[in-house]
Amino acid sequence: MDHSSDEPSRRRFLKASLSVVPLVALGACGRPPEQGQASVISGSAGATSSNTASKYIPQFFTDPEWRFINAACDRLIPADDVGPGAVESGVPEFIDRQMLAAFGLAANWYMQGPYLPASPLFGYQGKQPPREVYRAGIAATDDYCKKQFGGKIFTELNHSQQEQVLTGLEKGQIQFDATSATDFFAFLLQNTKEGYLADPIHGGNKNMGSWKMIGFPGARADFIDWVSRHGEQYPLGPVSISGQAG
């Protein structure tokens, strides 16, 4: 076998990664330049004012749904001094892109009927692929909010009220006819964490903010010279698959 063939390309990649450092090194706070810019969707007052959405134009979600996703992501992983929040990390973009991908369509799941009620231990047994669960779940959550909070939809609630609603979905205290509230919340939380922690090529984790926060070096994937250095903190920041370094 010719084992040398992939080595030069790997070296080229790493060299290229290093060469782009000055372009993306953003100073000590590591915040992306989009941070300070106005957003096309600012969300309602009080909900996402400190964490504006990116300029990404959603392909799956409608504008009201997109505002809901931004507001929910902002509560699931809020921004603070410890590290970036989900919204500035591009998690809504990640979720929108997932809705158009195999995940949203359940393309790799067994989706033949009959669809029988079963213990949660047997996993998702619904007929709706995740993107239909999202669509129905957002609408049903807003209907619930209107009834509970004097006509206000989710994005018009304050943070504490939004967290109360999300907890109700998570714990099964809120139930819908149109879809399973617990499945909706489970998909939303799973996708939010995925978008926060996955490689930026998928639309989230902008500027590798979560990786910098926790100390994961991303796609470096070569530690032969560090395995035996016990008790020393690995010193290098992350790289992404696209070659972005930070």
């Binding site: 076998m1 033949q112 047997f122 922690l197 070569d222 395995v227 008790g231 690995y234």
Partner: protein
């Protein structure tokens, strides 16, 4: 679509993972014309596992790019006889492979043998503890083959796979403090490569375990610790601890897989042909039902193809082997009520537990530095290495710090009580990601009368054939085993002096949950054994009923072991191949 009949071949192989590749090599060595049928796509290191795209946790680790696509076929699952099974719709608990190389592409490389007494478990338990020690619903059996018979084949497979490790028992000489496992069965030769270097967390575990009187050793790993050339002349490069091992293909030619150890030679042989994207529908039988005539499959274009063959090697994933036998009418299906019949009998899983040790931020664990098969192990609580008499259960678990990677979506550990979301979750992942050591207990599960496979009466695959139905739940014996070993493991974790620990172990009465990943070490259903009324296969993996069908893989295990199965699966394949070459081809017929 057309119906095509191919010209006959000497042997057809169904499923082209580890055992398909091994049998392809052995049977072409013997001069046979061999065709291998693999239902998944063709894959090789370059371009399919190439850097940097392979370092993508979402695509490979969370969306399972290299695994079976359940849209076309899955299994249904229920907890008990009489329940209605529902489909395993999303991958979770176990991850069947798909494509050329099979699960051999995306395993970690934990390369174990078996404990000698586990091959004759029923006899061993009766000899040491008495027959009444075995619960009445437990259906454990002897494999029908001995460790001594298999030893040369373990050794050879380790040389093929370039296994890194250190012997603890060399020809019966116990080597204490050698870095090897003093409790293992004898090895006729040292490992082909020295052990992998230890990550920090593994060394902390080994130190604490030694202080408590255990015997830690380096995990046997099919991840090359040095440059290596195997007996087929194929080269491997040293593992660089990239941390993208299990669920990923190796970009570095370091993890043993069919692609990195066998295929570069086999695929060039003129008497071998691989046909990928070929989904076998059934094994065809002669009118008397006692001899296979070949197989029928659907090719990539949807054509129905008949491939006549004198010899049929069934080497798909464990569950698919069982299903193929049931769909083809080979062997008598198992009936859990009467206990009669054999095909589908004795499905067994494994029991995982663990302890997380959470250190403070001054202890840099660097969790992303990982080799799939690396780490430190104790075997003192596995198999029958301790007196089970006062404990009242059968089986055990090995305990390990195997830092296979620190991929942040899947491999994030936070202390018990941490919120699932919000600022509290975010603060916890920042605090703990780089400072946690996970210790796993990797344990056996016995076989039981009510844990088995049959064909689902309702759900069908994309071709209209019935799904395989799994009936399985946890039994008290195995939960008590896991509680015992995990409890001892918590003592080791405390001796590592972390800030806090978190214990993950099942409670009596817990039911099987298909959602969280546990292990893909599913076994049984086409078990080997000593008699046709209690096993599907004889000791050479030959069907008792149809003598020219041989069935590879962990479907042959009559119950599960504490170790990972691949080393035993590979050794059994070479053992079976030897019997075919030395005896069967000269005089086709039952070998027992």
């Amino acid at each position: 679509m057309a119906h095509i009949k191919k010209k006959p071949v000497d042997a057809v192989i169904i499923g082209f993972g580890w055992t398909g590749a091994i049998m392809g090599m052995e049977l072409t060595d013997a001069g046979l014309d061999v065709v291998a049928l693999e239902r998944g796509e063709n894959r090789d290191t370059n371009p399919d596992f190439a850097y940097p795209r392979i370092a993508d946790e979402l695509t490979y680790g969370m969306r399972y790019k290299l695994f079976q696509n359940l849209a076309t076929e899955t299994v249904s699952v229920r907890h008990a006889i009489g329940d209605t099974a529902v489909p395993y719709r999303q991958l979770g608990s176990f991850l069947p492979g798909n494509g050329v190389g099979g699960a051999g592409v995306h395993w970690n490389g934990a390369h174990w043998r078996v404990l000698p007494e586990e091959l004759r478990l029923r006899s061993h338990v009766i000899e040491r503890y008495g027959k009444s020690f075995i619960p009445s619903n437990m259906t454990i059996q002897d494999f029908g083959v001995s460790y001594e018979e298999l030893e040369p084949y373990f050794s050879f497979f380790e040389r093929v796979a370039g296994v890194s490790g250190k012997a603890g028992n060399l020809n019966g000489e116990i080597m204490l403090n050698s870095g090897g496992n003093p409790l293992e069965g004898f090895r006729s030769t040292e490992f082909p490569l020295p052990p992998l270097a230890d990550v920090y967390g593994a060394s902390l575990f080994a130190k604490a375990a030694t202080e408590l009187g255990y015997h830690p050793f380096s995990m046997p790993a099919a991840n090359a610790s040095q440059p290596y050339t195997n007996p087929y002349g194929v080269q491997m490069g040293p593992c660089n601890f990239c941390g993208f091992c299990e669920r990923f293909g190796c970009y570095n030619y370091s993890k043993a897989s069919p692609q990195t150890t066998i295929l570069p030679v086999l695929l060039k042989r003129p008497n071998f042909e691989l046909r990928a994207q070929s989904q076998v529908m059934k094994i065809n039988l002669a009118s008397d039902g006692k001899r296979a005539t070949g197989v029928t499959y659907i090719d990539a274009q949807g054509n129905t193809v008949e491939q006549p063959a004198d010899l049929v090697i069934l080497s798909a994933f464990q569950m698919h082997n069982v299903r193929m036998l049931l769909l083809s009418g080979i062997g008598k299906p198992y009936d859990p009520i009467t206990g009669k019949g054999v095909v589908g009998k004795n499905y067994a899983y494994q029991m995982m537990g663990g302890v997380s040790a959470f250190f403070n931020e001054d202890v840099p664990i660097n969790p992303f530095i990982g080799a799939g098969g690396g780490g430190q192990i104790i075997d003192d609580l596995n198999g029958d290495h301790f007196d089970h008499g006062p404990l009242g259960f059968i089986g055990g678990a090995y305990v390990m710090v195997n830092q296979s990677g620190g991929r942040p979506i899947q491999q994030m550990s936070v202390p018990p009580g941490t919120p699932a979301w919000g600022a509290g979750w975010k603060h916890a992942i920042k605090k703990h990601y780089g400072h946690t050591v996970n210790i796993a207990t990797h344990g056996s599960v016995m076989s039981y009368r009510d844990a088995y496979f049959d064909l689902d009466p309702t759900y069908r695959d994309a071709y209209g054939q019935p799904l395989l139905r799994m009936t399985f739940d946890w039994h008290d014996n195995d939960i008590r085993m896991s509680q015992y070993v995990t409890g001892k493991t918590a003592d080791i974790a405390r001796a590592m002096k972390p800030e806090s620990i978190g214990i993950n172990v099942k409670k009596l009465g817990d039911h099987y949950d298909v959602r969280p990943y546990q292990t893909t070490h599913t076994v049984g259903g086409a078990i080997m054994g000593e008699r046709p009324d209690s096993s599907v296969l004889n000791k050479y993996l030959q069907s008792w009923d149809v003598h020219n069908v041989f069935v590879m893989g962990a479907s042959a295990f009559p119950q599960n072991i504490g170790y990972n199965p691949t080393g035993l699966v590979g050794a059994l394949a070479y053992w079976s191949a030897n019997a075919i070459r030395e005896r069967y081809l000269k005089n086709p017929g039952p070998l027992v």
